[in-house]
Amino acid sequence: MIDYITAHYDDLAKAALEHLQIVLVTLAISLVAAACLTIICSYSSKITKFTLGLFSMVYSIPSLALFALLIPLTGLGKTTAITVLVIYNQYLLLQNFLAGLDEVDQSIVEAAAGMGMTPVEVLVKIKLPLSKGAFIAGIRIAMVATVSIATIAASINAGGLGTILFDGLRTMNSAKIFWGSLLSALLAVFIDWLLGFAERIWK
């Protein structure tokens, strides 16, 4: 085990960085998309129901199947991987974001509207700051899920720590399996810890 890491630390570091890159790009795109969807959903409960229903349906599709479904459109590689991860994240983020906005005390919202705030002002000045906690909680869940699903994306040549893991499985190399799994688990724990820290600061 130790021999493997001394001989191949550059491969492992490269895979880990690649993994992190996929996760961060996914995070950036997911947040923009989820923010837009949240704003659209805040206008009507019908749209909310439809959107959440749609994404929960897609969320229930196994990741390998979703990768396979997208290959004809976006081909093998990172683009497909990130697309799938972003779609999965929408369910996790949207659900948490909307729940957070919903939990804001109705009397505060009424006071804000009653004193002459526009719906956008109510959202930006009152609802968003008061649901920060739920937002970060949603991001935490989505990020940990992204780290683990991104491992599977190695099966469609997206790179990352999954490459090492799948290599190990194919060649029955237990060192590769061990380090691939351990590093992706550590990455998930690290990101979770980082966001947990952010959650405490911003609360």
């Binding site: 005390d105 009397s107 505060i108 009424e110 006071a111 804000a112 509207a113 009653g114 004193m115 002459g116 705030m117 526009t118 002002e121 000045k125 009152i126 700051p129 008061l130």
Partner: protein
């Protein structure tokens, strides 16, 4: 005297309800009056109040503020001209007391110095030392102090009309009496029109220059407290007045 608020045959029905929440109501309020709306829960008093700042839209009839049909005014602009205080206070917990009070002036894009001066002036008026309280958060205040801040926030942009929806409902009786006295003194010192909803008959008769008594969506009587007590309009009002008198007799026993 100018007509501050005028309702013309206003009706409001909520979906799924066979009864009108507010039923063909007409009345006129002169500028500078303190009107209390008295009734039990579900009588339509809060609905009536919320139609003035268009949180609810009437199904029928028209409402005028200083002769202007409010359905023709931009709703956001309308609300910024009206002070609004609710029972749960609704202070913004993530903003300081100062920022809460400065909210409407900021929405109206007042200059910073003007807003700051106004915040200090209002805090002084409600008996909270500006230097000490301005940067506190609502959670660091007592219930009575929070409601005072709610009042100051509603007064910030100097609105001509103040709407208050059971503002002292959740406050202990000692603080409540003090806040009532403060509100009366405040009203005497300014030429503002108050519309104050309550289910407490003593509060209604103590504060109101005139009282609107409502039941099941209808206005039963709209008159001065003295006239209502001497000439109750119908049986419901009579029983209401009697219930207050019975309460008084209850306390007499302990003397």
């Amino acid at each position: 005297m100018a007509r501050a608020i005028e309702f013309q045959n206003v009706t409001k029905t909520f979906r799924g309800s066979s009864q009108n929440a507010v039923n063909h109501v007409s009345f006129t309020i002169e500028e500078g009056e303190f009107i209390t709306i008295l009734g039990s829960s579900g009588c339509g008093k809060t609905t009536l109040l919320k139609m003035v700042n268009r949180l609810y839209e009437p199904d029928n009839g028209k409402i005028f503020l200083f002769g202007e049909d409010i359905s023709a005014v931009d709703v956001v602009q309308l609300r910024r001209r009206i002070g609004y205080v609710i029972q749960q206070i609704g202070l913004f917990p993530h903003m300081t007391v100062g920022s809460n009070i400065a909210m409407v002036p900021n929405l109206l894009k007042w200059e910073k110095e003007k807003t700051n001066a106004r915040v200090d002036q209002l805090l002084t008026m409600i008996g909270l030392e500006p230097v000490e309280y301005k940067n506190r958060y609502p959670a660091q205040l007592s219930g009575g102090q929070q409601q005072r801040v709610g009042l100051a926030r509603a007064l910030a942009a100097d609105p001509k009309i103040m709407l208050m929806d059971e503002p002292f409902g959740a406050i202990d009786s000692i603080t409540r009496l003090r806040l009532q006295d403060e509100l009366l003194a405040l009203h005497r010192g300014m030429k503002k029109t108050f519309l104050f909803v309550t289910h407490d008959i003593e509060e209604a008769f103590k504060l109101g220059t005139k009282v609107i008594i409502m039941n099941e969506g209808n206005i039963l009587q709209f008159d001065t407290p003295e006239r209502i007590i001497s000439h109750p309009a119908d049986e419901f009002v009579t029983s209401l007045v009697n219930s207050a008198k019975a309460k008084e007799e209850f306390w007499e026993k302990f003397k």
